[in-house]
C-alpha cells in the first residue's frame, strides 16, 4: 500500500506545517540546481559538503542517434573495474553483433599526480615517487630517473662499476618478474589459469630476491642518484644464482603449457595485428614493435649502464600479432636470466655510490634484529664524534644537493618498451619538472588500431599482449 498526495490540498497526507515549509525549501533548492547545472551525463545537487554528482548509465542512445540504416547501436562499457582489462582501464566498445566497430580507451583512473609531487621533494626523494609509476617495473623507473639526474649533474662517468652492474642485474631480474606477470595475467584473462599460477609462482622467487636485497617486494627506491641505496647483502650472490637456476628450469613449464597449445594459439595468432608502419606511427615500442621484425632495443642501439659489454640477443618475431609478442617475452626471459648470470660473474668488491660526498647519500643502513634499519655505528659516529659529519648528513638529507639548470631526456628499455625521463632543473635542490614517457601510456594508444574490426573476445587478448600497467599509464 503506497501513500499518494491528497488531491484536494496537493500535499502528502499527514504533512505538518513545519514539514510543508521544509518541502518548499527543498523544492526551491531543486529549482536552483536545475538552473545552476545541467549535465547530460551526471545530475548534480548541492550538499553541505559541496556539489554531488550522480553519474548515470545506459544513456548512450540520447547522445547520438544511430546512423541511417543501422538497426541499433550497441555500446559496451568494459571497465574500469573489469577483471580482463589489465588494471583500471576503461574501454568503450561499439559492437555490431560480436564484431567491434569502434574502440575507445579511457584512462586516468589511477592518476596520482606523481610528476607534480616530484616538484616539491628533493632530487633523491624523487626516486621514491618514480618507483611507484610502473609498479611492475620499479627498477626501470628508478634507473631512468637516476641516469637522467646523473646526466644533469655530469657525473655519469663517475658511477662506480659495481653500482652499474647491480643496476643491470636488478633491472634484468625485474624484467623477468614483469614478463612473468604479463604471461600470468595475460594467461588468466584468456582462461589459461595454470599459466597464471606458474607465472606468479616464479615471480615470487624473484620478489624474494628483491626483498632480500632492498628490503621490499615493490616500491624499492633502491637506485639513487649517484649509485645505489646500499650494497647487496653479503653472500647473496649464491642465493641469486640458485633462484635464477630455479626460475630457468621452471620456465619450461610455462612454455610447455602455452607454446604450440592449440587453444592458446587460437586465441592469440593473428589477433591484435599491428605492423611496423602502425607501430612507428603510434609510437609503439617494446615487444609489440619487435614482433614486427624490427630488432629495436635501446640496450643495443643506445646502451646505458654498460649494456654494450653484455652478451644477449634481441628477440624478434615477424607475425605482428599477440602470439609473436608472447614468444618474444618468453625469449626475453631466457636472455634476461643469462644477463643476470653475467652480472654475477663480473661483480667485484667496491663502492656502490659516487665518491663525491656532496651527492652521495650519507645514511648507512645495516641489518638489525628487526630487519633493515639505521646503522648504529654510523649514528654513533655522526652524533658522538663528528659534528661536521652530522651537519653534512643533515643538510644533504633535508636540503639535498643542487643540480645545474638544464634539461635531459634519458631513455631506457623497460619490459614494455622505451621508458623515457624528461627531467628539467632550474638549478635548485628540487626537480623543476619531471615527465615520464611511459611505454604503457603510448602503447595503449594503439589498442583501437589493433582491435577495431575484430571480435569482442580478441580485445582482451590484444590488450593483454600490449601489457599496459595502469600505474605507468596514469602516473
Amino acid at each position: 500500500m503506497t501513500t499518494t498526495p491528497d488531491d484536494t490540498t496537493g500535499t502528502w497526507p499527514g504533512t505538518s506545517a513545519a514539514e510543508e515549509v521544509l518541502d518548499d525549501d527543498f523544492d526551491d533548492d531543486f529549482d536552483d540546481i536545475d538552473e545552476l547545472s545541467h549535465d547530460d551525463y551526471a545530475s548534480a545537487y548541492e550538499t553541505t559538503e559541496g556539489k554531488v554528482y550522480t553519474v548515470g548509465g545506459g544513456d548512450w542512445d540520447t547522445i547520438e542517434a544511430p546512423p541511417e540504416g543501422e538497426q541499433e547501436r550497441l555500446v559496451v562499457n568494459m571497465g574500469p573495474q573489469h577483471p580482463s582489462t589489465h588494471g583500471v582501464l576503461r574501454i568503450i566498445l561499439e559492437l555490431d553483433g560480436e564484431t567491434v566497430t569502434q574502440t575507445r580507451c579511457t584512462i586516468g583512473y589511477l592518476h596520482t599526480g606523481i610528476e607534480k609531487n616530484l616538484e616539491y621533494r628533493s632530487w633523491t626523494q624523487g626516486t621514491t615517487f618514480v618507483t611507484r609509476m610502473d609498479y611492475l617495473a620499479p627498477f626501470f623507473n628508478e634507473t631512468a630517473y637516476c641516469l637522467g639526474v646523473e646526466k644533469l649533474l655530469g657525473i655519469t662517468d663517475q658511477i662506480p662499476e659495481r653500482a652499474s652492474v647491480l643496476r643491470v642485474m636488478m633491472m634484468e631480474l625485474n624484467r623477468v618478474s614483469s614478463h612473468l606477470v604479463c604471461l600470468a595475467t595475460g594467461g588468466m584473462e584468456l582462461g589459461a589459469l595454470t599459466a597464471m599460477i606458474f607465472g606468479f609462482r616464479e615471480r615470487e622467487t624473484i620478489l624474494d630476491l628483491f626483498e632480500m636485497i632492498t628490503g621490499l617486494r615493490m616500491n624499492h627506491a633502491y637506485v639513487r642518484p649517484g649509485g645505489l641505496k646500499e650494497d647487496i647483502p653479503a653472500g647473496s650472490e649464491q642465493t641469486i644464482r640458485e633462484q635464477v637456476a630455479l626460475v630457468r628450469s621452471r620456465l619450461k613449464d610455462t612454455a610447455n603449457l602455452l607454446v604450440d597449445n592449440s587453444i592458446w594459439m587460437g586465441r592469440t595468432v593473428d589477433v591484435g595485428y599491428l605492423d611496423l608502419t602502425g607501430c612507428i606511427a603510434m609510437g609503439v615500442t617494446g615487444p609489440p614493435l619487435r614482433a614486427t621484425g624490427l630488432p629495436h632495443d635501446l640496450r643495443k642501439s643506445q646502451p646505458y649502464c654498460g649494456y654494450e659489454t653484455y652478451e644477449f640477443n634481441v628477440a624478434t618475431q615477424t607475425t605482428c600479432d599477440a602470439y609473436g609478442r608472447f614468444l618474444i617475452r618468453l625469449q626475453e626471459l631466457e636472455e634476461s636470466l643469462n644477463i643476470v648470470d653475467q652480472c654475477l660473474d663480473r661483480l667485484r668488491p667496491g663502492p656502490v655510490m659516487v665518491e663525491d660526498k656532496r651527492i652521495a647519500w650519507p645514511a648507512q643502513l645495516s641489518i638489525g634484529s628487526d630487519g633493515q634499519g639505521n646503522s648504529l655505528e654510523h649514528i654513533r659516529q655522526i652524533m658522538g664524534t663528528s659534528m661536521e659529519s652530522l651537519i653534512h648528513h643533515f643538510k644533504l638529507v633535508t636540503e639535498g644537493f643542487e643540480v645545474p639548470a638544464g634539461q635531459v631526456y634519458q631513455a631506457i628499455e623497460s619490459p614494455r618498451g622505451e621508458l623515457g625521463a624528461h627531467i628539467v632543473s632550474d638549478g635548485g635542490t628540487r626537480p623543476y619538472r619531471v615527465h615520464f614517457r611511459d611505454p604503457s601510456f603510448v602503447n595503449l594508444q594503439s589498442v583501437p588500431a589493433m582491435t577495431e574490426g575484430s571480435f569482442l573476445s580478441d580485445v582482451v587478448a590484444a590488450v593483454a599482449s600490449v601489457d599496459p600497467v595502469m600505474g605507468g599509464v596514469d602516473r
Binding site: 610528476e115 612507428i280 609510437g283 636540503e399 634539461q407 619538472r433
Partner: protein
C-alpha cells in the same frame, strides 16, 4: 696584444654567449612577508638555462644542422624559424618559432638525411617567470634509421597558449598532447579531439602549472605537526 687592439671596436666579443634568463627569484626558504631581519629575504637569484650554442656544435650535431638547414630551404621554411640551437649534456635542442613547429617536425620526419620517424614524447614545461614564453612545448624525436635523438622545443605565452598540433605528422602525439593540454592548458591547434585525459572532464584548472597549488594537509606525527609539502622550507 696587437690582436686585441684590432678587435677593440667589437663590444661583445665574437662567440660570447648570452645567458637565457627565465626567472629572477628573491628571498630564501620560501618565506614571504614575515618581516625578515636575517637578510636572506634580500637574496636575488637568477635562473638561467643553458645558453644558445654557436657552431661548431661537435659530434654529429653539425651534420644534422647542415642537413636540416638545407631541407628547410627546400621545404620553403625561412631560416629564422629556428630561434636558437642549444647543445648541452650531449643533447641537441632546436628551439623553433611556434608557427613553424609542425612544419619543422614534418621536415625532420620526411627528409631521408634526417628521418626522425619516431616521436617519443610531447610534453610541457611551465616557466612562470619567463614573460612572453611561459609555456614550453617539448617534443623528443628519435631517428631509428640513423640512431639519433633530438629535442624540438617551442614556446607560447600564457595569454595565447596555442601551438600547432603534431598529430598530423606523428599520430602518436595524440595522447601526449591531450595530457599536455590537461596539465598545462596548452591548446594544440589541429588536434582531432583535444579533451582532458587524466583529470575528470569537469576539473577546473591545469594541475601541473606552476601557479596551481599542490594542495595537502598538515600531518601529525608523535605530537609534532608537519606542514604539507608545498608549505615546507624551500631551498630553491
Amino acid at each position: 696584444m696587437t690582436e686585441h687592439d684590432s678587435t677593440s671596436e667589437v663590444v661583445v666579443p665574437e662567440g660570447a654567449v648570452t645567458l637565457d634568463v627565465v626567472e629572477v627569484r628573491t628571498g630564501a626558504f620560501g618565506v614571504r612577508g614575515s618581516g625578515d631581519t636575517s637578510g636572506f629575504g634580500g637574496v636575488v637569484r637568477t635562473v638561467t638555462l643553458p645558453a644558445p650554442s654557436v657552431r661548431p656544435y661537435g659530434e654529429w650535431f653539425d651534420d644534422l644542422a647542415d642537413e636540416l638547414e638545407a631541407s628547410m630551404g627546400a621545404a620553403g621554411i625561412e631560416a629564422s624559424a629556428i630561434r636558437s640551437v642549444v647543445v648541452d649534456r650531449g643533447e641537441i635542442t632546436f628551439i623553433v618559432e611556434r608557427e613553424r613547429f609542425r612544419d619543422m617536425a614534418a621536415v625532420l620526419r620526411d627528409e631521408p638525411g634526417l628521418r626522425f620517424e619516431f616521436c617519443s614524447s610531447v610534453s610541457g614545461v611551465h616557466w612562470l617567470g619567463d614573460e612572453g614564453r611561459e609555456l614550453h612545448v617539448v617534443a623528443h624525436l628519435q631517428s631509428i634509421t640513423h640512431n639519433r635523438r633530438i629535442r624540438l622545443e617551442t614556446t607560447a605565452p600564457d595569454s595565447d597558449p596555442h601551438v600547432p598540433s603534431l598529430v598530423p605528422v606523428y599520430p602518436t602525439a595524440d595522447w601526449h598532447e591531450r595530457e599536455t593540454f590537461d596539465f598545462f592548458g596548452i591548446v594544440f591547434d589541429g588536434h582531432p579531439g583535444l579533451t582532458r585525459i587524466m583529470m575528470p572532464d569537469d576539473w577546473a584548472g591545469h594541475p601541473q602549472r606552476k601557479d596551481y597549488p599542490l594542495g595537502g594537509i598538515p600531518v601529525q606525527y608523535k605530537g609534532a605537526t608537519i606542514p604539507p609539502p608545498d608549505e615546507r622550507r624551500s631551498y630553491s
